[in-house]
């Protein structure tokens, strides 16, 4: 109880000190972002939020200032040391900012919670491009522009990036790159992350993994990458952030690709987030990130699994 209270207070103080307003958005929604391999729970004809992303962006579209939320979210069939069907996301948005600003928030927020637990802040953060890190940990060299068939010809066959039969063609690249991410994580990235003493950001994602992020030149001001990052401490994935995409037709194409991926896997269709897509042209330039509250608490307290810090009684 005390640990939760301390961490909640540290998170709220951090955002209030940086002039973000606390928001609360509904848990039960008519639509959620259609994302690969994230399955919403259904409740009374609605969906339980898998993240507060769409309603928070809709608040920004309606003129809200910088906002944060500690939101209860649900994802079906996720059970494990680092997964639970119900958890809390610390999610925040800064207007007139890009992903570097919210990445800096991740570092300071982690430190704020560590300090609340009398722990030394994370000593150093390093930042790695997705593709250079892939090459450094596996020798697999890619440009990020490979289509599914090219990818399958290049990467080890054990990575199983080959598109399964029945997968609609506009989901092929998304499937292959998602499979590559999974195989790389399992084979090399997770062991590498576990050895890093400081915090790690992975940036410059290949375009098929852009999700809801803008695409543009990478860190080196060259190429074309998703302005998305993931942050890790102690080998544990804590946060994910974007320089937010504001192009509604492009966002619709990406949702359609994920919907096709779901169809290829035989999953029930999800409603196209029409309300969100309609509001999207009014989204101000902004960046946002989501950080798993329970995982942050785990890392800060040295707990080994989510069940060690769970506040509910099963």
């Amino acid at each position: 109880m005390r640990a939760w209270d301390q961490a909640l207070q540290a998170v709220r103080s951090y955002f209030r000190d940086h002039d973000l307003y606390e928001a609360l958005t509904p848990v039960r929604l008519p639509e959620v972002a259609i994302e690969p391999y994230i399955e919403p729970l259904r409740a009374g004809g609605h969906l339980l939020a898998t993240s507060p992303e769409l309603p928070m962006k809709q608040l920004l579209c309606a003129g809200a200032p910088d906002i944060f939320q500690i939101a209860p979210v649900h994802r079906a069939s996720e059970h494990g040391r680092l997964h639970s069907e119900g958890f809390h996301l610390i999610e925040w948005y800064r207007r007139d900012a890009d992903e570097r600003a919210v990445r800096a928030d991740v570092e300071r927020l982690v430190d704020a919670v560590f300090v609340a637990f009398d722990r030394a802040p994370v000593s150093a953060w390093s930042c790695h491009g997705f593709l250079p890190l892939l090459e450094a940990t596996t020798t697999v060299r890619l440009t990020g522009t490979e289509d599914a068939a090219t990818l399958a010809a290049i990467v080890p066959s054990a990575w199983r990036v080959d598109v399964p039969e029945g997968m609609p063609s506009h989901a092929h690249d998304l499937y292959a790159w998602s499979a590559l991410l999974t195989a790389w994580s399992d084979a090399a990235l997770d062991p590498w992350l576990a050895e890093q003493a400081g915090g790690v950001h992975i940036v410059d994602y290949p375009a098929p993994l852009a999700a809801l992020a803008q695409i543009g030149p990478g860190r080196a001001r060259t190429g074309s990458y998703a302005h998305r990052f993931e942050s890790y401490v102690g080998g544990i994935e804590l946060a994910n952030g974007y320089h937010e995409l504001r192009d509604a037709p492009e966002q619709r194409r990406r949702f359609e690709a994920v919907a096709a991926l779901r169809e290829g896997h035989g999953l029930e269709p999800l409603p196209m987030p029409e309300r969100f897509l309609q509001a999207l042209p009014k989204l101000p330039a902004c960046a946002g990130a989501a950080l798993g509250f329970e995982r942050l608490l785990m890392v800060a307290t040295g707990a080994q699994c989510l069940s060690d810090i769970a506040l509910h009684v099963d």
Binding site: Y37, E78, H83, S178, A179, T182, S185, N240, H265
Partner: protein, 186 residues
Amino acid sequence: MDVSDLKKNAKLEIDGAPWVVTDFQFVKPGKGQGLYKCKIKNMLTGSVVDRTWRSGEKLKAANVESKKMQYLFNSGDAYTFMDNATYEQIEMPVDVVGDDKDFLLDNTECEVLFYNDRAVGLSLPSHIVMEVVECEPGVKGDTATNVTKAATVQTGRQIQVPLFIKQGESIKIDTRSGEYVERVNK
């Protein structure tokens, strides 16, 4: 069944054999496919292997069921068991019973495993008490040593027992190892 229905003790049919998930771990990189890392045990042979499935893969649930049954008698080609609840009788082939036959006494309660309604496995109580029908005479005062002698029990099985055990006495046997546990005073 979908791979997301996997959990510990889930029963799967793989290449025509029933397997049970004995260990289960879920990992998932952000927005990547989930990995379901399992240890699975073949319910017929007992062999254990590692298998990893990914999100979106489909599996076949194995039609297996375990019933408490009582051993009745052996007809030569098969062993007959009775369901204690329905009094239904089933026959289990000699090769399925295997070496477990040495620990089957009339009326022993066992778990019988059915796969597609066929009896495919037997699980005995972990210990069973049997009478020594033949052994060399007992030696008094030799209880402290590890010296043993062969004794034949009711089913014909030979068990290594301590020297003080006498013919006609009952002993407790571990059915998994076939080893003597202790003397039982009736």
